[in-house]
């Protein structure tokens, strides 16, 4: 292993991240140019999605205790962030065909751009969440700073899962359909619409929390609604496993770069 960082390496790294950032920026700009309401959709789209769940669960099904709306939002908002990023990362490499056939770019570039776009939009959605919580009488406390490690953990998890699907889908595009179905399954298994404490026996809760999405949602609710610290040990484990997967997949994508290029160009 070479331990010296030569200037050429540094230039390449800087250029890679600059390119990711500028591509995210331009993609968002280009997306906004497509519609009449342009950037307003960053808020309108999540509002509409949240609206659908609220109508179904709060009004039609009368699931609601007073705090059910807040409970639901704390689950659905992180979930939508995860599912959108992962879903769109699936065919990110095949969609990058034009670039892949004409220039050299490390393959993680493609899922990273998808993740970056989703991240920027998500920042606004979180602000929306805070406004809703405020309306439902949950006021910010000093404990809300715990959101920072939770959000970082979720971001690492998103990158890890996105890298895996971005690598696999070019080999068999059929897998994209399985991702859609898989995400639906995870959605219902992650306690978005129910509290795990009311569904699982105490001795089974541990298994439920092994689902990282479920775990993160529990932590969002602890911090935002219950005003207690998150399960930090769990967050550390999720982060470390995610980092390991990210590093592993970066190597795997590098090793199979030719194969991915050919699969994307075909």
């Amino acid at each position: 292993m070479k331990s010296i960082v030569n200037p050429d390496m540094r230039r390449k790294t800087v250029m890679f991240w600059q390119l990711v950032i500028i591509k995210v920026k331009f993609n968002l700009r280009s997306e906004a140019a497509q519609s009449y309401l342009s950037y307003a959709w960053w808020l309108l789209e999540p509002l509409m999605q949240m609206g659908v769940y609220l109508i179904v669960f709060d009004i039609l099904l009368h699931r609601g205790t007073e705090d059910f709306v807040a409970f639901l939002l704390c689950g659905i908002i992180p979930w939508l962030w995860f599912s959108k990023s992962v879903n769109q990362s699936g065919n990110s490499i095949t969609r990058g065909k034009g670039l892949i056939s004409q220039t050299y770019l490390p393959k993680p570039f493609f899922p990273l751009v998808v993740i970056g776009q989703a991240l920027i939009k998500q920042a606004f959605v979180f602000v929306l969440l805070f406004v809703f919580l405020f309306i439902y009488d949950y006021f910010p406390t000093i404990g809300w700073f715990w959101l920072i490690p939770i959000v970082i953990t979720q971001l690492l998890l998103i990158i890890a899962v996105s890298f895996v699907v971005a690598f696999i889908v070019p080999f068999a595009r059929d897998i994209q359909y399985l991702i859609d179905a898989g995400l639906k399954m995870v959605m219902f298994g992650s306690g978005i619409f129910y509290s795990y404490k009311s569904v699982f026996l105490p001795q089974h809760r541990e298994y439920f929390l092994m689902n990282p999405i479920a775990n993160l949602i529990v932590n969002y609710r602890r911090v935002l609604m219950e005003d207690v610290p998150p399960l930090t040990g769990h967050l550390v484990v999720i982060s470390l496993v995610s980092i390991f997967v990210i590093l592993l997949m970066t190597r795997v994508m590098k090793r199979h770069n030719n194969t991915l290029t050919l699969l994307a160009i075909e």
Binding site: D8, Q18, I22, R29, A33, N258
Partner: protein, 230 residues
């Protein structure tokens, strides 16, 4: 003699295409290629369709890495001249020029500095601020071409069809290429036309069925190539 900018040693490349689950087709496109790209030279790679010349250019552009042998790069910026690299039709000409030059190896700072020059060369005028989807195909290729030419790449890779845009821009771009070629710019040109290679290059490499047939002085190589395909 100075060090080569790109050096290939016994490079081989095989296309493997998946034809089904666990099944794949193999096609050996390049076999033990030895080649040094020297600073300042204009190298013409000549060969018929399917000879492997485009694959070789893709290896030089790092789009593929060799399966066998070794390739070493001493050049920082190697650009494949392509029209409309990474263009997004909904973005303005200026935005696309920034993106495109960064994809060709510029940093953000370098890209921003060079963009006014690119826009001027492309003769787009105020259209530079309009979305590229409103451009005619001539305008689009003019922009793409300008980005590639105004970027100061260490090695410029060019795949045949050089003609773009209307007649006057075509003349201008050919002049620009000739200018690049005769300057200290290192150029690798891939073509199936002996005439084109003869006109522009100072060294030629003839490739057939993935192997180098002949390499050396342009006159000699293109004459033998023309005789072989008579």
């Amino acid at each position: 003699m100075s060090d080569p900018l790109i050096s290939l040693k016994d490079v081989g490349f095989t296309y493997r295409t998946l034809t089904g689950l666990m099944k794949s087709d193999k096609y050996e496109a390049l076999k033990s290629i030895n080649l040094d790209i020297l600073p300042g030279e204009t190298l013409g790679i000549i060969g018929s369709n399917g000879s492997g010349k485009s694959t070789l250019l893709k290896i030089l552009a790092r789009i593929f890495s060799p399966d066998e042998g070794e390739i070493s790069f001493n050049a920082k910026k190697i650009s494949l001249l392509s029209l409309a690299l990474g263009f997004d039709p909904r973005l303005s000409g200026t935005d696309n020029a920034i993106l495109s030059s960064m994809l060709l190896g510029a940093t953000l700072k370098e890209a921003k500095k060079i963009v006014p020059d690119i826009i001027e060369f492309s003769e787009l005028g105020e259209f530079a601020n309009h979305p590229v989807r409103t451009y005619s195909s001539g305008m689009r290729s003019r922009l793409g071409f300008s980005v590639a030419l105004r970027m100061h790449a260490d090695v410029l890779l060019i795949d045949e069809a050089l003609a773009v845009g209307d007649a006057s821009f075509k003349a201008k771009s050919e002049r620009a290429i000739v200018e690049k070629v005769s300057s200290s710019q290192t150029v690798v040109l891939v073509s199936h036309s002996a005439v084109q290679v003869n006109r522009l290059c100072d060294r030629a490499l003839w490739i057939d069925k993935g192997e180098i047939v002949l390499t050396g002085d342009t006159d000699m190589v293109t004459r033998k190539y023309a005789e072989a395909y008579k």
